[in-house]
């Protein structure tokens, strides 16, 4: 309280060397480099390796379960694809969650954003990697399902051959879209919550609990019954699956739910992320 002090102007005069002048300006970090780094980050920690390994094991296990425990009449490409896709739908979004929320949980965001202060570019790189993972994972899933179908065909003999390849291309593309939406939900939650466990739980709630909750509410609240398909994303997402393409109305419902659960929160979340103090 009593301390009074000298306060000469800032530091002392020094030799006139100006590092501002002799600064060699590097070019901006290329986006491809950022994507490469983010790809590497999805596989260089224990948690991310575990998730990748678990996804592989679950997918292979799904095939084995079909072959081991389900009657041979059901051994079709579609069955294998369904069984492989189910764990993937729950697992893939976790990659996005780890990629985004992990930066905060482990506080590596501090280094990430001092190396790349334009945070939007890092977020975009992570989004690109997430999209890439959807494509690659589904390509592998199709390959694995095909492989299992061949194995099944050999095991079952000729009589099942006519129904083995039962999934049209359109349906497969819709499955990829389904996964992309799942990934986007995980990504959005991670951006908004910036907390790994919270985002994971949040995703499981949306994927597993939300539909039941929604139909429960619809059954007791008249006003909600008509609105439900337009606001509840998981059911809208499931309309993509199955042999029949969604109706125009169902596509529109997918649109509104994606707007509500992904576009809107992601926009707000990214805007917040670009400004939030990183500590």
């Amino acid at each position: 309280m009593t301390s009074t002090t000298t306060s000469p102007a800032t530091a002392s005069p020094t030799s006139g060397t100006s590092d501002v002048a002799r600064r060699r300006v590097p070019g901006p970090v290329p986006f491809g480099r950022l994507v490469g780094v983010e790809v590497r980050k999805t596989g260089d920690t224990r948690s991310s390796r575990w998730i990748l390994l678990a996804l592989g094991l679950l997918a292979a296990g799904a095939c084995a379960v079909v072959l081991g425990f389900m009657p041979s009449e059901t051994w079709t490409y579609g069955t294998f694809l369904d069984q492989i896709s189910y764990p993937l739908a729950l697992g893939i979004p976790m990659l996005a969650v780890l990629s985004v929320a992990g930066e905060w949980g482990q506080r590596s965001a501090l280094t990430t954003f001092t190396l790349v202060p334009r945070r939007g570019r890092v977020v975009a790189a992570k989004a690109a990697v997430a999209a890439g993972y959807v494509v690659v994972t589904m390509a592998l899933a199709f390959g694995l399902a095909a492989l299992c179908t061949l194995v099944a065909g050999a095991a079952a003999g000729d009589d099942a051959a006519s129904v083995l390849w039962d999934v049209p291309v359109g349906q497969q593309l819709r499955l990829v879209l389904f996964m992309a939406v799942a990934m986007a939900v995980g990504f959005t939650l991670a951006v908004v919550l910036r907390h790994t466990a919270a985002a994971m739980v949040g995703y499981l709630l949306i994927a597993l609990v939300l539909p039941n909750l929604s139909s429960l509410l619809a059954s007791v609240q008249d006003w909600y019954r008509d609105a439900a398909p337009w606001v509840e994303i998981t059911s809208a997402q499931y309309n993509l699956l199955g042999p029949d393409a969604p109706t125009g109305e169902q596509w529109a419902q997918l649109g509104t739910t994606v707007l509500l659960w992904i576009v809107l929160p992601l926009t707000l979340g990214v805007r917040r992320l670009l400004r939030v103090e990183i500590r």
């Binding site: 002090t5 306060s7 800032t10 480099r33 224990r46 506080r107 590596s108 500590r279």
Partner: protein, 307 residues
Amino acid sequence: MITIDALTKRYGDFAAVDDVSFTARPGRVTGFLGPNGAGKSTTLRVLTGLATPTSGTATVLGHRFADLPDPGHEVGVLLDASAQHGGRTGRETLVLAQRTMGLPPTRVDDMLDLVGLTRAEAARRVRDYSLGMRQRLGIATALLGDPQVLVLDEPANGLDPAGIRWMRDLLRTFADDGGTVLLSSHLLAEIEAIADDIVVIGGGRIVASGASEELLSGTGTLVRADDAAVLAAALTDAGHQATRTDDVVLTDAALTDAGHVAFRAGIPVTELRAADGAGLEEMFLELTATTQRDATGAAPAPTGAAA
């Protein structure tokens, strides 16, 4: 070159950093000294673009940090050694930075050698690192891009004495080669040992700044007396400048003059010595004490300025 200009950062009503201005020049090590909670880290976070200022500016090499196209090549930053992904190995942490900056992979091994992390240590996960090892890894990351400016928040934390010595030499060499170093610390001795310029912050405000020699080599005299207020008045009456902090008076009077004034005023003196560095030390202790962190009733015993 780092320029902080009228920087203020508020959290709600609380000003963590309040109208702070200073410059860190090339070829010099600038020590940013302040007690816990003074606002050092907050200032450095704003400087490195991790926080936005409420008002004022902070620039590195003439630009806002966020406007640097590939800052790793220009500014090495270590703000918090514990803020690293525990699940990655030390080497992987460096590889990610090396790739982000587009550097040749050999840089990683060079840096590991430079900071004294063995290959075996680098292969371990950061979670299992000691604080000192994390600090070394953080310094390696900061130096990776061969920058011209270093910004380090309490880099000596967790380093053993040999490590502290090593870091001092490293920063000295860096500055002697024309680099700008800004490092924070809450330890005066640490800053004394390395800094060419010192900026002292307390309660979010700059309380002193200048070249170390000026701040540390006291031209005046330190007198300690129970009746310090009376002594200070007596010194002022005798035509000297006097600054009182509790029972200590700092004056520009020579040793003998100060002694005579005290004697004539009939004030028993409990300590009388050349002030060298004591001004800064007393001020810093006062600053620390007023934050009331470990304030015990008794005033902390001054140890004299470590040379």
